[in-house]
């Protein structure tokens, strides 16, 4: 299971493990997006992401956008090197 999520108080903690790529985005999106707006806060832990590509970047951008629409406070609690590099490449567009 690449994704684990739990709700504590008013915060959804989501932890993504493994790939954040074209191979996993569909599944991740299916899991994640319905949770948008379920709680006022969303914490995203990306420290266990091993690989990230453009599709992953796009997913993060959508999460960010949807969080803005739903009024959910979004925070990223950790990011792996793969995530940092990818975001740096496109100058941190998503977070």
């Amino acid at each position: 299971m690449p994704i684990t999520s739990e709700i504590l108080d008013d915060t959804v903690h989501v932890r993504i493990e493994g790939e954040l790529t074209i191979y996993t985005v569909a599944e991740l999106a299916g899991e994640l997006l319905p949770q948008m707006g379920a709680a006022p806060r969303l914490e995203l832990d990306l420290s266990q992401v091993t690989e990230m590509d453009g599709a992953g970047l796009q997913l993060l951008a959508v999460i960010q956008r949807e969080a803005g629409i739903a009024g959910t406070a979004l925070s990223v609690t950790g990011q792996s090197q793969a995530v940092t590099q990818a975001l740096q490449l496109c100058r941190g567009a998503a977070s």
Binding site: G54, V62, E66, C90, A93
Partner: protein
């Protein structure tokens, strides 16, 4: 070949005109803010580009003159020459001269007129005052020639990936990684705004785009090769950013080719260089206006055809078919919007042209006048924009010449010595309003009235509102020289202004306060081709009312019917609403229908109710002009073809309302009279 070259030259002429326009803008900007480096850079670039392209076509006269101008601009940019009014005035004149030279090329004249040459000489001489020594010229030239392929160039790359990029196993990020190896990424902007809303978003489709600034020694071709893999489902635009001071990059290379070969016979290889230079200023495609008109005409026909199809569909009980047609209609509507939008251009360019006019005229008249422009981004139809320039110019000249007093008179009246001229545009109920306001002396009401009575435009006993009196100056009889001197001069060709605006299906009116100024308001339709119409029926005939003017519809019940018929007005929530019985107005025979409805329409500040039999709903209306035969017909502005193939007449609401106002004014001379028009 010669045809191609011809086309390229046409493009050059169009471009040169635009660049000169931009140069003039920047010069005026520089005049108000002498320290503006951006403006100086823009002026320099404009001159530089014109020189470069002119060289490509072997237009020696333009190259020669522009070169000197460029020299001075270069010194200006380096701070060796200070910006002052004299220099700006000189450079403006130089711009005019360059335009003149370009026009000579455009008109295929062999040589400029002797007068123009003389002017050119005088300008050269004046410019030489700003040139230190001849050697400076040489150094500029060598600097340009010296630049080579190995120079680092700032490239701007815009990438738009197609939806299938991920599915085809490619990762946009890997392209970025590869670009990083080619040079230094100065800036990357990730574009996510084309990602559709969540419910229609597919995580496996790509909607990403990137804007990248890359400083690299790589050539255009090398960069282009990077994207060979994704060429099919990716949009790539690579352009060299023209960095003003030290890297003449893309432009430099043009100049090199120009100096290497004899300018008389441009060879085909050099044309790509020109087109590459063109892409630098945004990804625009130049389209012939006629083609655009043709497209819009076709879209109009498409709208009619699709309306016909959906009408037929509704009559044959077939759900899937109905669904399909409704999808088609939706798409057609979108195409229509898109097509119309293509023709919409902001009015700002037209407005900005007047800056120079105001500057020149105010100097000529010895008045200090400031032009304040607002609403420049307001968009309207291209044809309208083109045709409104002259009337606007006329009104502006009038306002400056006669509206705004001399500085002394202004001070005496307790106003600031500086006159203000406001040019404003905004959208209002389906039309665009352009306002020209001055803070001058205003119109002299008594004298206009006197004049009008003298000329027999107004009966001597008639009671007119202030507004009506002011608007008299748009009457044809007012535009004589005598009237000009007697009145504060207003009225010069005002009838022409009005006629031009009426031809655009617009109206003009005027408001004035003595001592405080005058406002001229021009109201124009947004587009000339297609309107959203509201269909109403009388007997078997159908009429179209422009939807933008419809405010509401109400049913006329039985006893209201009787009383309203007697009185000619209706009590609309305590407001007096004058009624027009269209059945009588258009002389339909036969008894009134059992049920009647009132459509409340508004135009400008007039409001009235039109009594009709049936309300038939909205309809996208393609306006077909009426033939010449019906030119004199009032109250009808055109016709359209309905889905059923029947013809419907489009009501000209402004004219109709005016007609009522006049009619009522005539019949209500004797008191007691109900108010003519609800405000």
């Amino acid at each position: 070949m010669s045809i191609n070259l011809d086309q390229a030259q046409q493009t050059f002429i169009v471009e040169a005109r635009e660049l000169l326009q931009a140069m003039e803008q920047s010069l005026l900007q520089l005049e108000s803010e002498p320290g503006d480096q951006d403006a100086i850079g823009a002026i320099f670039r404009a001159a530089h580009t014109i020189k470069g392209s002119a060289g490509l076509f072997g237009l020696a006269s333009i190259v020669g003159f522009t070169h000197i101008v460029e020299d001075v601009l270069d010194r200006l940019r380096e701070g060796n020459v200070a910006v002052d009014a004299a220099l700006i005035a000189l450079l403006l004149k130089c711009g005019d001269h360059m335009l003149e030279l370009v026009e000579v090329v455009a008109n295929r004249g062999e040589a400029p007129t002797p007068a123009a040459l003389e002017r050119g000489e005088a300008l050269r001489e004046a410019l030489s005052a700003y040139q230190p020594m001849r050697t400076a010229t040489a150094s500029v030239e060598t600097a340009e020639v010296a630049d080579d392929a190995a120079v680092e160039v700032l490239w701007h790359i815009s990438l738009r990936f197609g939806v299938d990029v991920f599915r085809n196993g490619m990762d946009p990020l890997s392209f970025l990684r590869y670009l990083e190896t080619l040079g230094q990424m100065m800036q990357v902007t990730t574009l996510t705004d084309s990602i559709p809303p969540m419910d229609s978003w597919d995580p496996e489709s790509c909607y990403l785009g990137f804007e990248i600034d890359l400083r690299s020694t790589a050539s255009h071709a090398t960069l282009n090769e990077v994207f060979d893999f994704v060429r099919d489902d990716c949009e790539v635009h690579i352009v060299a950013v023209d960095e003003a001071p030290d890297s003449p990059a893309a432009m430099g290379s043009e100049l090199v080719t120009q100096t290497e070969q004899a300018p008389m016979t441009p060879s085909p290889q050099r044309l790509p260089a020109a087109s590459e230079a063109k892409t630098r200023d945004g990804n625009y495609v130049r389209v012939n206006a006629d083609k655009l008109d043709e497209l819009i005409n076709l879209v109009g026909e498409l709208v009619i055809a699709s309306a016909g199809a959906s009408l037929l569909t509704r009559s044959c009980n077939n759900d899937p078919l109905q669904e399909a047609t409704s999808t088609v209609s939706g798409l057609v509507e979108e195409i229509l919007d898109g097509a119309l939008h293509l023709r919409m251009i902001p009015i700002g360019d037209t407005f900005n042209r007047f800056r120079r006019v105001v500057r020149d005229i105010s100097q000529e008249l010895g008045k200090d006048i400031e032009l304040i422009i607002s609403g420049a981004e307001t968009e309207l139809d291209k044809t309208v924009v083109e045709k409104i320039g002259d009337p606007l110019m006329h009104l502006l000249r009038n306002a400056m010449d006669h509206g705004i007093e001399s500085a002394d008179a202004r001070r005496a009246a307790g106003k600031s010595a500086k006159g203000h001229l406001n040019l404003n545009a905004y959208h209002d109920s389906g039309s665009i309003v352009i306002e020209i306001a001055d803070d001058g002396a205003g119109l002299n009401r008594e004298r206009i009235l006197e004049k009008a009575q003298e000329r027999g435009l107004v009966a001597s006993g008639a009671v007119l509102t202030d507004q009506e009196i002011y608007n008299l100056i748009f009457e044809a009889g007012f535009s004589t020289a005598e009237a000009v001197t007697n009145l504060s001069g207003r009225g010069v060709g005002m009838d022409v202004v009005k006629r031009n605006i009426t031809l655009l299906r617009g109206t003009v009116d005027l408001d004035s306060r003595p001592g405080q100024g005058t406002v001229v308001r021009i109201r124009l339709p947004l587009t000339l081709a297609i309107i959203n119409g509201f269909l109403v029926g009388i007997d078997q005939s159908t009429y179209v009312i422009p939807l933008d003017m419809v405010q509401e519809c109400i049913e006329l019940d039985k006893h209201q019917r009787q009383s309203s018929r007697d009185q000619g007005y209706l009590d609309l929530r305590g407001e007096v609403l004058p009624l027009v019985h269209l059945r009588d107005h258009f002389s339909h025979e036969g008894p009134a229908a059992r049920r009647q409805n009132v459509v409340v329409v508004r135009y400008a500040e007039h409001k009235a109710g039109l009594v009709v039999d049936d309300l038939l709903g909205e309809f996208q209306t393609v306006i077909k002009p009426l033939g010449k035969l019906f030119g004199a017909l009032r109250g009808i502005s055109g016709s359209t073809i309905l889905g059923s193939g029947a013809v419907a007449l489009i009501l000209d609401i402004p004219a109709l309302l005016n007609q009522i106002v006049q009619l009522e004014a005539r019949t209500t001379q004797a008191p007691p009279s109900p108010p003519v028009v609800a405000r």
